[in-house]
Symmetry: C2
Subunit: 291 residues, 2 copies
Amino acid sequence: MKELNQITVIGLGLLGGSIGLTIRRCFQNTKVIGHTHRATTRKKARKAEIVDEVCDRLKESVSNSELVILATPICTFENIFSKIADALPNGCIVTDVGSTKVLPHKWAEKTLLGNTQYIGSHPIAGSEQRGLEFARDDLFEKAICILTTKPNTERNDLHKLKNFWMKLGCLVKTMTPEKHDKVFADISHIPHITAASLINANDSKTLKFAGKGFIDTSRIASGPPNIWSDIIITNAQNNVKGIDKIIKELKNIKNAIKNNDKKQIEKLLKNARRKRAALINYKMKQRELLP
Amino acid sequence: MKELNQITVIGLGLLGGSIGLTIRRCFQNTKVIGHTHRATTRKKARKAEIVDEVCDRLKESVSNSELVILATPICTFENIFSKIADALPNGCIVTDVGSTKVLPHKWAEKTLLGNTQYIGSHPIAGSEQRGLEFARDDLFEKAICILTTKPNTERNDLHKLKNFWMKLGCLVKTMTPEKHDKVFADISHIPHITAASLINANDSKTLKFAGKGFIDTSRIASGPPNIWSDIIITNAQNNVKGIDKIIKELKNIKNAIKNNDKKQIEKLLKNARRKRAALINYKMKQRELLP
């Protein structure tokens, strides 16, 4: 398959920066343009040679690209779509790296023109770190990347985008935006909300006694609050349902404690232990986790 | 300070086994006796030379020891205390390594005789692994160990026990059993309950999409269910209160989502991030975490 001539990355934080670096490493004949709204970050990106060229103007940055990737907080997408819509060349594929997908698809449908194709991307990579300083050219190695499509998505464009992420090192899966948002509420957004709640429920004096268990359990709560508030609010319905599910499970254990029912507590803990063992086993087989 | 002549460890799992191995490494002139109720484990302990001598009979195992350490599930303590009470030599210190302390103190007071001294110990060490096979002679290196005392605790005995744990590599702190159980509900038992709830709220199909974040957040739920059901039920009141606090925090975020209040979500996440950053900073300064 022919390499893309030019790719634009909008937003140069941990993810956008890592995409820039990885394109530079993996693509021989592709020019990668970067844009970000902060002049100081553009300066840093130029100095660190994160992309081939940093462009000061948003519209200009996309006007010759075959692929445009938004790596900004989700709630900026609609505005960016509307600003770039008439500057995008015919046949351009627009994607993003946001953690929710239903609303981005809606915004794209409403705002982008018919001569371009939006497909959602969600590479499961990154960490609780943020910013260009942490960008790495191996961040996507063996990361799962979910692409979200609608029934009218062009198969050829999907194929191109799949190839792009695979070349960056990802294992690509596709699903509908609706399924994506439901699944990721349960296994990503709700754990984040729970980790933050665990910390917020305690004062700093109590936290000083925390051991390795607490530190691991709460790690994801150190993620960037502006990115995560966008994720949580753009997946509102699934997150409300997910919080209710967790509260239900917590109440199950609480009732067992109140009833002094040790058998029932042990049963609930055994169930969790067994399911987690199966999960770890599956991840090992998939080679997503090392033994 | 004179080394103890003889120590008995009752229960030879991960913790009991590790205590045996560490005593053998750190104490030149101390004999360590081990007992466990399962004949197969006693056989394994003999083969692996976990202690100097494995004793088949519980009462016999304690009859010449200056220090007796229970490393069995908490709900066995009362029964073991009553079985060993009249076999303990005068001046013997009895302790344990359980994760709750109020009830063990009550049981000791009720069951042990006046010629011995009970002090609670809680070394914050271990992992989600279980069993003699995982015992290590460096498990207590830099681990915090909380000792719990009552107003009538003999200072000299406390001093002896403190020295014992320090020699094993621990950083020793003391507090009342009441304070201990409140703090550890919040920073250990509730996180465990929450991790189990996160897993139990999801079916296995959804779990397959879990990434590193979910896997870390849920790690502690792989701990041994029989040990943890004892911990949870012997700290019932604090855990019920703790679950209510977490539910309150979850509802705070849920309400902000329902009100489409992104500012409020971000504020709650920022608060958690800031508190966790302070915690990590503190742990680094204490050299409990490496940079």
